[in-house]
């Protein structure tokens, strides 16, 4: 015999388990938002934004803008030496920095360097190297070795080194260390185990990051030239000083084309590497 079905409210599950209280994060978030908003407002005050100036100089600006949207293509042949120098600086800078960065990355990763002191020292130095902006490196080297491509290459080298070591050592931190453990269990030293079991695992991302810094370098070598470190940047500085905005926009256009081309190449190769 079965009783007719009756609608029953679901009963709470009988259990000795205690449900935890929902954590109250509301106040924490509120404080964080207020602090962030405060910092932003304070920063805006510091730069003393003068919107009116934009309109006062409108006449002047429009003249410049009109010149800028009319690039003078006849100037292109004269830019070629500087363009080549930019590309060469970027390539040499990349080549040297990625070669030096590889061993340093293994010293800067907790996964591959068991020596805590050496690890701390390498990391500290790399943090310092990375905290200096590329433009500042360029200014320093221009003062030390004079204007031209050499100071540019040195600036690019240090700038890339900081980025590469950071990215590759973090890649090393994140990968599966099983192969390394097995190699060490078979009597290999850290050096041999890292070379045989860890290097193959990061090789694709190492190549991919190398192409990425090459891409950064084209941009960077255009900018650092402004302080005299060779390449297109130095050319920009020259034409700008003489208010040759037709020429200026030609150079900017060239950089744009160069960067887009390299980005296409880079994303194509990276896709092939990482799959």
């Amino acid at each position: 015999m079965s009783t007719p079905p009756v609608a029953v409210r679901p009963q709470p599950v009988q259990s000795v388990q205690v449900r935890p209280d929902k954590p109250r994060n509301g106040p924490k978030y509120a404080i964080a938002i207020v602090v962030l908003a405060g910092i932003t407002v304070w920063s805006a005050l510091a730069v003393e934004v003068d919107v009116a100036a934009l309109f006062r100089n409108a006449n002047n600006a429009s003249r410049t803008l009109i010149q800028l949207v009319q690039p003078d293509y006849s100037f292109i042949p004269q830019t070629m030496p500087a363009l080549m120098q930019t590309v060469q600086m970027a390539i040499i800078g990349t080549a040297i920095s990625i070669a030096v960065a590889l061993p340093l990355s293994f010293l800067a990763s907790r996964a591959t360097n068991p020596n805590k002191t050496l690890l701390a020292v390498v990391r500290f130095i790399m943090n310092v190297v990375r905290s200096v902006p590329d433009l500042l490196y360029a200014s320093i080297f221009v003062t030390v070795v004079g204007t031209g491509a050499l100071s540019g290459i040195m600036a690019i080298f240090l700038f890339d080194l900081g980025i590469m070591v950071k990215l590759i050592s973090e890649a090393l931190d994140g990968i599966d260390r099983g192969g390394q453990e097995a190699a060490r269990a078979a009597g290999a030293t850290w050096l041999k185990a890292n070379r045989s079991a860890m290097l193959p695992e990061i090789a694709p991302s190492y190549l991919s990051q190398s192409i990425y810094v090459l891409e950064l370098n084209i941009r960077a070598s255009a900018v650092i030239g402004l302080v005299g470190a060779g390449g297109l940047g130095m050319l920009i500085d020259k034409v700008r000083t003489f208010y040759q905005y037709h020429y200026l926009s030609t150079v900017i256009l060239e950089i744009l084309v160069l960067v887009v081309l390299l980005e296409l190449l880079s994303s194509f190769t990276r896709k092939r590497l990482l799959t």
């Binding site: 097995a182 269990a185 078979a186 009597g187 050096l191």
Partner: protein, 271 residues
């Protein structure tokens, strides 16, 4: 099947003398463990997770340092082995892991050659310039586990069972005197588990290599271990032939009666 040439070594004895292991976080790994494993013996270690099985096998090659006592492997003493001597000991002891521990993005052959790193100079290792004899030995090891056709395949393209056999070949290329296996079947399905266990059994009987294998499943342990060691809370609670390990013994190891979850294969009902 060919046996590896240039003189396979004989199995080594392993002796635990009052071994204690405690981890830096205060967890006790092993307590007063004394054992003697004869050369060429095949021993299965069973126990619940956390009973100290992994700690036990990992002390044998120094992956886990012992806190007190002494372990002797062949002529090596673990308590004093450091640096070069520890690496020498490790070169004589192969290890097989639960998660295979292959370098996935390189070839099967390169993985097997890692078993030769102890004998390869740092210079050659950096260039990946392996000695011809070592490559030959690696190929023979792959032949022994019947997977040599995959030598130039990337390790990531293999199935779990194939990866574990590559890992076995890697230990064989060491020409080891001892093979340690830390739950070698835990990531494998039942049929593949038996293939891997049979490989280990064959290596033990044909090459005379001492084998110590951690197993979670009791039926596997009884079937493949000539001798069974039961651990509970870091202590040895059973040590004897697998055949003698009855229901009562298992209760003392597991602290409860057996359930279907403690065996790999469901019992076959014979009509």
């Amino acid at each position: 099947m060919t046996a590896p040439t240039n003189g396979a070594r004989t199995g080594a004895a392993i002796v635990f003398d009052n071994v204690n292991v405690s981890y830096p976080n205060g967890v006790i790994g092993l307590q007063d463990v004394s054992l003697s494993i004869a050369p060429g013996e095949m021993v299965a270690v069973v126990g619940l997770s956390g009973a100290g099985k992994s700690t036990l096998v990992r002390t044998i090659n120094g992956l886990v340092p012992i806190t007190s006592g002494e372990i002797t492997v062949g002529e090596h003493r673990l308590s004093t082995a450091r640096g070069k001597e520890l690496r020498r000991l490790r070169s004589e002891v192969g290890m097989i892991f639960q998660s295979f521990n292959l370098a996935k993005r390189t070839t099967v052959l390169n993985n097997v050659l890692m078993g030769r790193l102890y004998y390869t100079s740092a210079f050659r290792s950096l260039l990946g310039w392996w000695k011809k004899d070592d490559v030959e030995l690696a190929m023979q090891s792959l032949e022994r586990v019947e997977i040599v056709n995959k030598a130039y395949t990337s390790a990531s393209e293999l199935s779990g069972g194939q990866q574990q056999r590559v890992a076995i070949a890697r230990t064989l290329s060491q020409r080891p005197r001892v093979i340690l296996a830390d739950e070698p079947t835990a990531s494998l399905d039942p049929p593949t588990s038996h293939v891997v266990m049979r490989d280990l059994q064959r290596i033990n009987s044909e090459l005379g290599i001492t084998v110590v294998v951690n197993l979670h499943f009791l039926d596997l342990a009884r079937r493949y271990g000539q001798r069974l060691i039961g651990l509970r809370d870091g202590r040895v609670v059973f040590d004897g032939p697998g055949a003698k390990a009855d229901e009562k013994v298992f209760e003392s190891i597991y602290g409860r009666s057996l359930t279907a979850e403690d065996v790999l294969d469901a019992p076959v009902v014979v009509p």
